[in-house]
Symmetry: C2
Subunit: 322 residues, 2 copies
């Protein structure tokens, strides 16, 4: 058995998972961010013990604990460098703290990486050795798996797909301080950015007009309008798809994944978005790479992070990877 | 001891290497491409046996044989799919052929990957877990190492940095059938492409004028002129550097290597080229990634492939990676 938690700012998603990463039991607890979030790990531990008892198991029956956390992680030491949503500040060694609590091996990674590992093992990645997950939410994040292992890079900055420069006109400022990042044109925020931009430039007739003028537009409204045949919304979505296709074409020649998995809220646009991306992707991409890569949407939803956190134990404890 | 060969169209570079990848003995043999290159592997094997005897060793004293070959390799099976320079056509299982000849474990990879592995172990990569090598020659190739292992990807198309689209104007056709690839503006051919292009557009005064008009220009002449202060040549080199910096900025956010190693003939331009790339790279790149990545030139020259081929045995036989 493996214990796993996807620790978020509002709730922690917890689970008991078997060695094949099938969920035996899953539940949630509220994240208590009081007192600089110092209660969080203890609350997770106590909840594990309580729920293990309900299935007649003890902590000692488990091979390890995998934790996903919402912040930058130094994977080797298991140290997080701040997590605003958890009220954690500065460097905190989560791995050693939870090893002391539990007496078990603990592995910690950031939420985007564990979600990628979850999709790799039990979701759209179909357990392939080489997969990439690009998460389109408020921002754009993701993770890359090569040779069955997460790629962290020299300092954990690998898989930062949101900061690939794709908008050569550099129209929008990114939170990172640069301009033109994928995040500025393909996240939920990016879809809204482009819609405002093109509405001003082109003055199309569109059902989105009121929301645009009231500045209350949301990405989902643009996708819904495009699916319903609104010409302007479709124009914007094609621009979004083209930027994503460009990023995917680069991902393909760099790590040549079997699957590029689209996750996050924007991925709910589903096959409609994939189809538009693929149209551009096929013409843009080095043929030998394009032939072997399939663009798909994530399948695990909110379970991805928890299953992937358990996947850390499978990868690094049970299979003994370095 | 490890046996290693970097098999090229003109010569095969052979070596006996110790377990720390230090060269005990190295030599070359002429590549006999007659009869569809069917003599090559036997000639390499015979030469190994002969040279082992001179240092009082036998085949059985060796842990394995690493081979670098100039063509696309399916790494798992050790099959090459054609190698024009060797007169090899169709799929040939090099691994199994050489295992039969030698009775030893054999690993085979393409020349760009083994050169990357060589630089990783004993060259500019200083044995870091995450390094990328970008080879600037007639074309642009390379290799990526993440978590100490070469990234091959789903079908061996990983590390094809030459086909990252960087020239948004798409001015030059690439051998791959696309336009705008890094290879069209940053290989030796690319430097010449840009020089002709900007000379026609700008009509600068330049010492390169005669060579441009005679269409006898070579990349080295452009670098030499730029170093000597020729304003036009410097203009061109800055454009080359900017395209490379863009590609490097993407490599950095994707795999976050500790070193981006520039190899190949164009890398002889040395620190002059690195300095110009860095100027652009620093402003273009996601800061957390840029801070941890250093751009350097390769240090092993022609030995990189042979040392890296030996590195395959160290990685996959001795250290037991999958």
């Amino acid at each position: 058995m493996i214990l796993a938690a996807d620790i978020g700012g509002t709730t922690c998603k917890l689970g008991i998972v078997d060695n094949d990463l099938n969920i035996i039991k899953k539940w949630e607890i509220v994240t208590n961010t009081e007192d600089n979030g110092t209660h969080i790990l203890k609350n997770v531990y106590d909840s594990f013990v309580k729920h293990l008892a309900t299935v007649n198991l003890k902590i000692e029956d488990c091979a390890g604990v995998g934790l996903g956390v919402p912040g930058p992680v130094d994977f080797e030491s298991g140290t997080i460098n701040g997590a605003i949503n958890l009220n954690w500040h500065g460097k905190i060694n989560i791995k050693s703290q939870f090893e002391k609590l539990s007496g078990l091996p603990v592995y910690v990674d950031n939420d985007a990486n564990v979600a990628t590992l979850g999709e790799k093992f039990k979701g759209a990645g179909r357990n392939e050795a080489n997969v990439v997950c690009v998460t389109l939410g408020t921002g754009v994040g993701g993770g890359a798996i090569s040779n069955h292992q997460l790629v962290h890079g020299a300092t954990g900055a690998a898989g930062e797909f949101g900061h690939i420069t794709v908008d050569t006109k550099q129209r929008f400022a990114c939170n990172c301080g640069k301009r033109g990042c994928l995040e500025t044109v393909a996240s939920a925020t990016g879809v809204v950015n482009l819609t405002y931009y093109y509405y001003e430039e082109l003055q199309f007739e569109t059902v989105l007009k009121d929301a645009i003028q009231e500045k209350s537009l949301q990405a989902k409204m643009v996708f819904d309008a495009a699916k319903d045949g609104d010409e302007f919304a479709l124009y914007v979505i094609k621009k979004v798809a083209k930027h994503l296709a460009f990023a995917f074409s680069i991902i393909s020649v760099m790590t040549n994944p079997k699957y590029i998995i689209i996750g996050g809220g924007v991925s709910r646009a589903g096959q409609f978005l994939v189809d538009h991306i693929e149209t551009y992707y096929k013409t843009m991409t080095f043929a030998p790479a394009a032939e072997s890569t399939k663009i798909v949407t994530a399948t695990l939803g909110n379970d991805a992070g928890m299953i992937g956190a358990a996947g850390l134990i499978k990868t690094y404890v049970m299979e003994g990877n370095k």
